[in-house]
């Protein structure tokens, strides 16, 4: 294997795949980056077993020659070392040559490195993805979907399947649900050309967070392919694979109440700030609980009381208040996270009683829905 490449392009590619390489892997080969050279171009692959990132650098782009391939082949090189070396090479032309026994020479200008490589056949195989199970959505939409759901995944391992976000396709709608069994976040997206044969997958929250970091906030389409074992997100030149979580995701549709007894329409920002203030006192107490009470004349009261520190009360006027009077307590943290996820101005909060879960959604539709379980305080 032998090729010449522009250093800045190689570095840009390495930057992407390095995000997947973890220093504390137990599988020795995964400390490396796999380099595949074909006559079409160069593939770089990095992985920590959970996620795998692959980038592609074409031989030619916009009439400009990026890579000059003399001989094709594959090699695995120590990721950290290779990245550092490429970063510090003196000129913009890099020549990489692999001779017998995985010995690799990296030449640039007058500097020459000899690296000991690893056998590329030891590297994990990437899953094959069928073309008919793909759909696509714009990158910025995908990013907001992630932002609106992934915060609600469980952090404890007692039920591993809850550490992921459930993606389900139902009647031309993609439904993303995350819950930690105290609160739930659901996002529905209308998409075209959704594959019919996939019913439900659970994508690890950690992988989605990583993906969110890599995606750029553009309207470029991201191809998404789901298989029984993997999910693939594909942008122009970056492929992002993630493993899925095994096990059945609990049926969450029944958790969402059908009828509501109290409906409150309120300015989301005002409520968020009021709860933030109230939680200043509540936070000191272990459970971070605030109280919410409906009053006369379209006002509600947010209060918090911790006996050793003091108490806070604040009244907010609401747009609309109908139904039964209500006193309810809930976690300030969950409420704030839910309000932040619903970005809009006005939100509707719908209650079915002091001891029943309540939901938050934007006034326009129920594309974003947040459900929170109240806390018993007496």
């Amino acid at each position: 294997m032998k090729f010449d490449i522009m250093r800045d392009r190689l570095l840009a590619g390495l930057n992407d795949v390095m995000k997947a390489v973890s220093s504390k892997t137990t599988i020795p080969i995964l400390t490396g980056i796999k380099i595949d050279v074909t006559h079409e171009g160069l593939h770089l692959t990095g992985s920590d077993a959970d996620i795998t990132i692959q980038t592609f650098i074409p031989v030619e782009e916009n009439g400009e020659q990026l890579i000059n391939v003399s001989a094709t082949g594959s090699i695995v090189l120590q990721a950290r070392m290779f990245n550092e070396i490429v970063r510090k090479l003196p000129t913009n032309d890099v020549e990489i040559e692999v001779s017998a026994g995985f010995a690799t020479n990296i030449r640039s200008g007058k500097s020459e490195f000899h690296l000991i490589g690893l056998d590329a056949s030891e590297y994990p195989l990437l899953p094959e993805v069928a073309a008919d199970r793909q759909f696509s959505m714009p990158a910025d939409l995908l990013k907001s979907v992630i932002r609106e759901t992934v915060f609600a995944v469980a952090t404890s391992e007692s039920r591993p399947v809850l550490t992921g976000v459930n993606w389900k396709i139902l009647d031309n709608e993609l439904i993303c649900v995350a819950t930690d069994s105290h609160r739930l976040a659901r996002r529905k997206i209308q998409l075209e050309q959704l594959p019919a044969e996939i019913n439900s997958v659970v994508i690890p929250g950690k992988s989605l967070n990583e993906l969110n970091k890599i995606l750029e906030d553009t309207t470029d389409l991201v191809q998404i392919a789901l298989t029984n074992y993997h999910v693939l997100f594909k942008t122009d030149d970056v492929l992002f694979f993630s493993r899925l979580l095994e096990g059945n995701y609990p049926d969450t549709s029944r958790l969402i109440p059908e009828e509501y007894k109290t409906n409150v329409t309120i300015n989301g920002k005002a409520l968020l700030q009021a709860i933030d203030r109230a939680s200043l006192l509540a936070r000191e107490d272990r459970n971070n609980v605030v109280r919410f009470e409906t009053l006369e004349n379209n006002t509600v009261e947010i209060s918090s009381n911790s006996p050793e520190i003091g108490k806070v009360e604040e009244q907010i006027s609401v747009e609309n208040l109908e139904g039964e009077a209500l006193k309810i307590s809930f976690s300030a943290k969950y409420m704030m996270e839910a309000l932040r996820a619903i970005d809009g101005q006005d939100v509707i909060i719908q209650f079915t009683g002091t001891m029943r879960p309540f939901i938050l959604r934007s006034i326009h539709d129920d594309a974003i829905l947040q459900l929170i379980l109240p806390v018993r305080t007496y």
């Binding site: 599988i27 077993a49 959970d50 591993p160 074992y229 993997h230 095994e246």
Partner: protein, 334 residues
Amino acid sequence: MAHNMNELETLQPVVIKQIQTIYEKNRMVHAYIFDGEKGSGKKAVMQFFVKLLLCENVSNNVPCETCRNCLRVDSGNHPNIRQIEPDGQFIKVDQVRELISEMTMTAVEKGRKIYVLHHADKLNVASANTLLKFLEEPDGDVIAILLTEQIQSMLPTIRSRCQHIKFSQIPRQVIMQQLVEQGITQSMAATVSMVANEIETALFLAKADLFAHARKTVLKLIEAVRKNVHEAMLIVHEEWLPSFKEKSEMEQALDLLLFAYRDIVALKANMESACTYPDMLQTFKEIALHTTYEQLSNQMQAILQARQQLQRNMNRTLLMEQLMLNLQEGYTFV
């Protein structure tokens, strides 16, 4: 660790046959315990089993050793296999949590996922209990292999959830004979063959000065214990404690002590052939005459207890003093 098929079959014929039958009839369960002494080839058999499970072209229930998967099992690069070694003294609960979160994800490559716990007896109570639920009902196609030298110190709840594969010991007579052939004295060969179940380790020990010294100290202590507690205390302070500074040395010395009492019990039951210390036959017979089975059992219990407490980092001096008093107990009514 490169064992070929023939070596494995001579080392553990029954186990290999058992594993091949499991594979052939496709009767895999989700968890196995490989239980056998040090040197009984557990790791080699584990590798054989893992290769059998992952190999792309198995013929005659033997993995091919040349396909991608076999090669990667050997080099430790197969992404579907996760191996856990004790981190220090124990397999810690964080290691188990990480393992579970790793194993609840779908396999990296096609095929089943396998996890191996080395020294599974070193799971502490918290980790064992964390593992339990996952061990019993893993999500997906997961196989657990637990290797241990001391199955009795594993939680019964763990044991009951695994299929137990017992590795046979290499017969002691065989090792003794080989040692004698190498020029080791009969009595030394008898002792080391009890400690090590493998010819190389046994030979190394038999030639080591430290081990000879340990053996001598232990025998001296036994005689002293018989006489009176003051003498025993003196030996503990002057010889035992200075000689056995490391925990592993102390462990070995306590084992040697235990074997001595085992000898005495054996002699009381008239089984002369199985002695650990043939050179002490006379003394031991005398001790055997003067003690009851119950006393001996109490004494052995005391040594086992001391050994456990050593694991928990009890103060060595106090530990030995307590042991001496407990051993003495056996003689109070004589």
